[in-house]
Every structure is written in structure tokens, then in C-alpha cells.
Amino acid sequence: MTRRVPILKQGDLLIASIQGELSDSDIVDLQSRLLSEVIKVRARSVIVDVSALDVLDSFGTRMLSEIAASVQLRGARAVIVGIQPEVALSMVLLGLNLNNVTTALDLDQGRLLLGAA
């Protein structure tokens, strides 16, 4: 059973608010739905809030990169917000990075970065 991550729309900003632990297929589902939404509503910006995630491993990190990249290919900007300190540490130690992805501390910072109203 796939847990659907809620995607909220505020003007031309989409916010994907991850509520809890996600399985690999939940993440894949989020990627395709987010891209569909970006196209459907012609979103200019996307924020993915990962503050509820306490594990972001190689698959999760890779998928976040891909989400950002695919959204950008549709002319929108993506920001990942809320990476928890322990998660950041695990990622660094695992040798993972989100080099091509914009990150911010939280939703407020994310919106500031995007210049959204």
C-alpha cells in the first residue's frame, strides 16, 4: 500500500509535506505525482519538506536529486527543506550529497530562497 505524500498548492508554489517514514515505492510515487502536478498547474516552485524523515539513505537521497532535476526540467525551481541534523550527518558519512539541489532549513527559509510571496 502506497502512502501518498500530500502536495499542497499555494499559487504557483507546490509544497510536498512528508509526514513520516517513506518506503521506496512511496518516494517513487511522490516523484511522479509531483511532476504531474508541476505540469498540470504550471508550478514555478516546489518545496519538499523532509523534516519528518529520520532516515535519508542512498535511495532516498538519489530520489530527492531526481525530483529536483525533473522539476527543474519543467522550468520550476525546487528546494528541499528540513533535513534533520542526524540525517545530515548520516548522509555525509555515507558519502551522499545533494550537490545539485538547493536546500534550506525550513519552509520559511525555503520560501525566502524561492522569493515566493
Binding site: V55, D57, E86, G95
Partner: protein, 135 residues
């Protein structure tokens, strides 16, 4: 009081999440810091996903362990899948880049204290890792 030794059958990505959660609870019970709990859950995630992706099914055993007065957690991920053809390559960082994520083993080894891998081609893989509290 939760059971400090649990075995999770692994068949699908839902089991990967379940194994992470078991690992996190046991780690928390043992008294690991939040940071270490996250590392342990991440290691479990990597090892368990390998079972699903490469072998289809297997199991992971997570339990509290003790050694010379040190408390720790042990995670053993085992399957009877195809095994690893080139273990040296799998344990090299570069192996994980490119279109495939690889096995994530070098990274996993970095985040645990003890790491042991056994694989016989055609028979499967057993990866055993341990993390000690206070080390």
C-alpha cells in the same frame, strides 16, 4: 519493554521500513544517541534494500549485543540470492556511482563499527554489522 532481539522477514520495501523502525527502537532502548540511532537505521535501510533488490527475499536479525562490558547493536542481513560476483568492487566507493546505486556497502561500512561480509556466488550474502555505544 520491547524484545531486544528481532528477526524481520524481508520481501518488499515495506519490510525495509519495518526493519528500520525495529532497529531504531532497539537502538533507542539500548541507549544510543539520536545521531547513532539515525546511523543504525540508515545502515539497516541500505542492507535490507540490498536483499529486496538483489535477492528478492531474505531476513534481517537485529539484536542487542554485549562485548567486554560494552553494549551494542548487531544487524545481520542474510539472503540466499545470487551472491556478490566481485566483492572487492562492491566494497569500493566508485562502484556505487553511475546509473545504478550499487550496494551502498562502502558507505554502510563507514557508519558502523564492525563490518563483516560473507558471500558465496550462487548461494547468497550475509552482512553482519555492529555498532557499540560510547565508541
Amino acid at each position: 519493554m520491547i524484545d531486544l532481539a528481532q528477526i524481520q522477514k524481508v520481501r518488499s520495501d515495506g519490510d525495509v521500513v519495518a526493519a528500520r523502525q525495529i532497529g531504531r527502537k532497539i537502538a533507542e532502548e539500548i541507549g544510543f544517541s539520536r545521531a547513532d540511532q539515525a546511523l543504525i537505521a540508515t545502515a539497516i535501510s541500505e542492507l535490507t534494500r540490498n536483499i529486496v533488490v538483489y535477492a528478492g527475499h531474505g531476513e534481517v536479525e537485529i539484536r542487542q549485543v554485549e562485548n567486554s562490558g560494552l553494549n551494542g547493536i548487531s544487524v545481520e542481513a542474510r539472503d540466499n540470492g545470487p551472491g556478490i560476483a566481485d566483492i572487492d568492487a562492491a566494497m569500493t566507493d566508485g562502484f556505487s556511482t553511475g546509473s545504478s546505486l550499487g550496494l551502498g556497502l562502502p558507505g554502510t561500512r563507514r557508519i558502523v563499527d564492525d563490518f563483516e561480509l560473507q558471500s558465496i556466488l550462487g548461494q547468497g550474502v550475509t552482512v553482519t554489522v555492529a555498532k557499540w555505544k560510547g565508541r
